[in-house]
């Protein structure tokens, strides 16, 4: 597992990968390191920013309440957190049956207005649009992998499948995404 820099608008910390021997959960560090990732995953799954905000807050609250019951032997912190977020998101899906499309992301005003950057932005928009057309199961796998930054083992833990199966699901979802991008081109 990689040590990866955490994307956060307010705090920039490096979260160590979860160790099976670490007895206690550092919830504060986990929150700061995973807040935006959880939101990205939930927003991709629900395709509704308002619902994603609610569900993300709810997921962190649930995680905070359950932090005492966290067992490092049963999986990493991030996998545990994204499992909770997944339950909250699916509960929300079931309750509200929201299918609204994800609102368009605001333009990156800080990006340099070069041709290369514009081209890259167009590609990202095409991928984002293609992603929105995929079924929820594929969207979820892709969001967990590329938005939440989980490796295949953590992906498997969150989805409740084997590691090999998780890799297969990911490959299949990415292939579908490739096809959707090509179809829209």
């Amino acid at each position: 597992m990689d040590r990866r820099p955490v994307r956060s608008s307010t705090v920039s910390v490096t979260v160590d990968p979860p160790s099976p021997t670490r007895p206690a959960l550092d919830f504060d560090a986990l929150y700061r390191g995973a807040r935006d990732d959880v939101f990205a995953y939930v927003a991709t799954l629900l395709r509704d920013r308002g619902a994603a905000e609610d569900v993300t807050a709810q997921a962190f609250e649930r995680a905070f309440r359950k932090a005492g019951g966290y067992d490092a032997r049963r999986g990493g912190e991030r996998a545990w957190l994204f499992g909770i977020a997944r339950h909250a998101a699916l509960d929300e899906l079931r309750r509200r049956k929201r299918t609204a499309a994800l609102a368009a992301e605001p333009a990156d005003v800080a990006a340099p207005p070069t041709d290369e950057a514009a081209e890259r932005a167009l590609e990202r928009a095409a991928v984002r649009a293609a992603l929105a057309t995929l079924p929820a199961r594929e969207r979820e796998v892709i969001a967990l992998k590329f938005h939440a930054g989980l490796d295949n083992a953590e992906l498997a833990a969150v989805l409740g499948v084997g590691v090999s199966n998780a890799g297969t699901l990911l490959h299949r979802a990415m292939t579908k995404l490739r096809e959707a991008v090509d179809d829209r081109a």
Binding site: P135, A136, R137
Partner: protein, 374 residues
């Protein structure tokens, strides 16, 4: 299909584009969530007391029901099984239950034959000591002149003593009987595992209270029953027969003195023999009635007190062996209660576990179905 952690280049490029452009939360929302996280996610405004108590009540109801069942089972388990005590009585065990039973009748002039000695037994009150032998008599003791009336008294005692003291208490019963001027009609004492005994005593009626008091001091009194029966009518009847027989005998004697012929003399002598036998029988009847009034029947049942056997050893001392016995008994009772509770709790726990597992599985399937339908 293999499942590597890395993707083919064309898919990895898509992944890079995805990584560069995740949905980002609004700074305003992020700041609010940061504040809530810093505050430890304070709970939402409290609901009303009634709505807060509703789930608690729902959760407590089965628990209270279960607690009632457990309390009932424990209560039943701690009750001594019926018939365990050798006394077989229903005494409380904490003290003697005394029932004074008196009966009176109006059978003066009764034509019953005293020589049979058969009296109708009187049923004691339910749950008391064995019935006292005497039966109905005549008149209420308090209804007329007490001095002139004859009373037959009886009593029954159930004494409980530690098994090792049964024989000593038996000896003491005999000593008390002798001391009050009474005698033992019959006795039976057994030692060992079936320790116990029975005593049929006759004590002077005038000293019955002292005899009962002395006997009661010998051991723990489980039951005590007293009864009295008015036998005035029988006494009067017997004495009347004696008087009539005497009068008839005197008349025959006078007739014999006047007899002149041999046949007449023989006939009167024959009648005299018959009257003499009747007179003797009537006198015996009077003696029996007087004896019944003069001596009271006392039945003593001596039983082994198993409970005190464990508590007090030889000579009433509490020895380490007694302590071990007590400890074993406590462990036995505790193990029995635990077994009963376990037999109730275990199936419930298994059912609860299965229900919980089914609920979790159902919830997971519902979520997965939601994901497929989305």
């Amino acid at each position: 299909m293999t499942a590597p952690d890395t993707l083919p280049p064309e898919l990895a490029e898509l992944g890079e584009l995805l990584r560069e452009d995740p949905p980002r939360p609004s700074p305003c929302w992020a700041a609010r969530l940061d504040d809530r996280a810093a505050a430890g996610f304070p709970p939402p405004p409290r609901r009303s007391r009634r709505s807060r108590l509703q789930p608690l009540r729902r959760a407590l109801l089965p628990a209270m029901g279960f607690a009632c069942v457990v309390a009932l089972v424990v209560g039943l388990a701690t009750l001594p099984p019926e018939g365990e005590d050798e006394s077989g009585g229903s005494g409380s065990g904490g003290g003697a239950s005394t029932a004074v039973q008196s009966e009176g009748g109006t059978s003066s002039g009764s034509s019953r034959d005293d020589s049979t000695g058969s009296e109708e037994p009187v049923d004691p009150a339910p749950g008391l000591a064995p019935p006292v032998p005497p039966g109905p008599g005549g008149g209420s003791p308090g209804s007329d002149s007490r001095d002139a009336r004859k009373q037959e008294r009886s009593a029954a005692l159930t004494l409980a003593a530690p098994p090792r003291e049964i024989e000593a208490v038996g000896d003491a019963i005999v000593r008390v009987t002798d001391a009050v001027g009474g005698f033992v009609v019959s006795s039976s004492v057994a030692g060992g595992s079936d320790a116990g005994g029975t005593f049929e005593l006759r004590v002077p009626t005038a000293r019955l209270p002292k005899a009962l008091a002395d006997l009661s001091r010998l051991a723990h009194v489980r039951e005590r029953t007293q009864a009295s029966r008015d036998i005035t009518a029988r006494s009067v009847s017997a004495r009347e027969r004696v008087r009539e027989a005497r009068l008839e005998r005197e008349g025959l004697l006078r007739a014999l003195a006047r007899a002149t012929t041999l046949n007449e003399t023989e006939s009167i002598r024959a009648r005299l023999r018959t009257v003499n036998r009747a007179l003797e029988a009537a006198r015996a009847s009077v003696r029996r009635v007087d004896n019944r009034a003069a001596f009271a029947n006392v039945s003593v049942a001596l039983v082994a007190d198993r409970g005190s056997a464990g508590a007090a050893g030889e000579g009433g001392r509490w020895t380490p062996a007694d302590a071990l016995d007590d400890a074993l008994r406590v462990l036995e009772v505790a193990a029995g209660i635990a077994l009963i509770v376990l037999s109730i709790v275990l199936p419930l726990a298994i059912l609860a576990g299965l229900a919980r597992a089914a609920a979790r599985l159902g919830g997971r399937r519902r979520r997965e179905r939601t994901l497929d339908a989305a």
